[in-house]
Symmetry: C2
């Protein structure tokens, strides 16, 4: 939900897009575009619309804070009604993600790990070569292992890198769902992503900036089933 | 400003703490504790109080998103009145931090880089050994170089690791201000941090949870000048 309209119009426009696309989507990802300008009450209202359409609400904060802050953040998010949160496993386990993971499991909430983002500069982070236990290794592969070990509910891999989606899908034996952002505006392809092993497509601006979000989502949905 | 009171009390309590401590501090760091529950209007009000006391407002989002999202986030933050934002250089430059850095410079806003956080698990990220140009290197040292190369306005190094503060202060020739969180509750020490080269101390819970925030901040301030 990457809306860039004036703050006063965001809630109305968001609800309108959700209502027109709800038959073709399964969840709504909400990020800083809405979380910063909208109040607690407005976010609650938005999520009640999302839930009334049998969709899930994912908070895309890319959390990478100390545990005390992560816990306060998810307390607010779960209170708002969110069903899952996106975190960066870079922040580490002890006094980092550990308490957030435990708390989220106990509340039956989802935690999705960033494993490789969709933009060019992602190579400066996720694509780094690291040295672990005497061996050279790509950092994103370390993040895949963290996702398994720390029991993530899903992993995020940019649609702009379909070969990585395939590699990661093989490594997880399709046991952890792969969410792939970067479809459309950023260059990612629906069919290639699905064929590579993506379970869920994350599409933002191609829908939001379209004159006919319903049509766009129904086309994406249709294309995602083409080869099945 | 790590407040954990009910959302309805946050604004009042925040303003009260700022007013009682403003003589002993130079800036207020605002994070998810306030940004999630408060509305745009409430954050604006809080920042007007901060500015009326001649203090600066820093948004601690630890931003690590794609450029399009980063730009929308800072648009909201600068509109709220914030003077600086904390980002994670892990996200990379191209289509990552580059446009945010350019835009922030043009608006005379500050961008602070995380270089090593204060919690135990920070070693899982900032403490990684990486391979670059055929050489083994600590990732936090790569982040110091990014801070120099990408012209960060400040770097953040946890007070729980004073030897790293010293190492990083030497590497930057004290040309980039070092902000150090983790003082007090997390175990960081005021005097050790200053002696190691920290320019600014970030203190959260020791002030917020105190019965007398004014006294706590005046003591920290006094201790920070002990050896000068």
């Amino acid at each position: 939900m990457d809306l860039t309209c004036p703050p006063t119009q965001i809630l109305k426009k968001s609800i309108s897009i959700i209502k027109s696309t709800s038959d073709n989507i399964c969840a709504v990802k909400i990020n800083h575009h809405l979380l910063l300008p909208l109040s607690l009450r407005e976010i609650k209202k938005l999520i009640s619309v999302i839930h009334s359409r049998n969709l899930l609400a994912i908070a895309d904060l890319k959390l990478n804070d100390i545990s005390a802050t992560n816990l306060v953040a998810i307390k607010h998010l779960w209170n708002m009604g969110f069903d899952a949160v996106i975190v960066n496993p870079f922040v580490g386990y002890s006094e980092g993600l550990e308490p957030l993971l435990t708390k989220s499991k106990s509340k039956n909430k989802g935690v999705l790990f960033l494993v490789y983002m969709s933009h060019k500069g992602a190579k400066d982070g996720y694509g780094l070569d690291i040295f672990k236990q005497g061996k050279k290794k790509k950092l994103y592969l370390e993040f895949v292992e963290r996702a398994k070990r720390w029991r993530a509910d899903g992993i995020i891999v940019g649609a702009t890198r379909p070969t990585l989606i395939k590699e990661i899908s093989n490594l997880t034996n399709s046991l952890i769902d792969i969410y792939t952002p970067g479809i459309g505006t950023q260059g990612g392809d629906v069919s290639k992503s699905i064929k590579s092993g993506a379970d869920y497509l994350i599409v933002g601006r191609s829908i939001i900036n379209s004159k006919n979000p319903k049509l766009v989502t129904s086309r994406i949905r249709a294309n995602s089933w083409l080869d099945c």
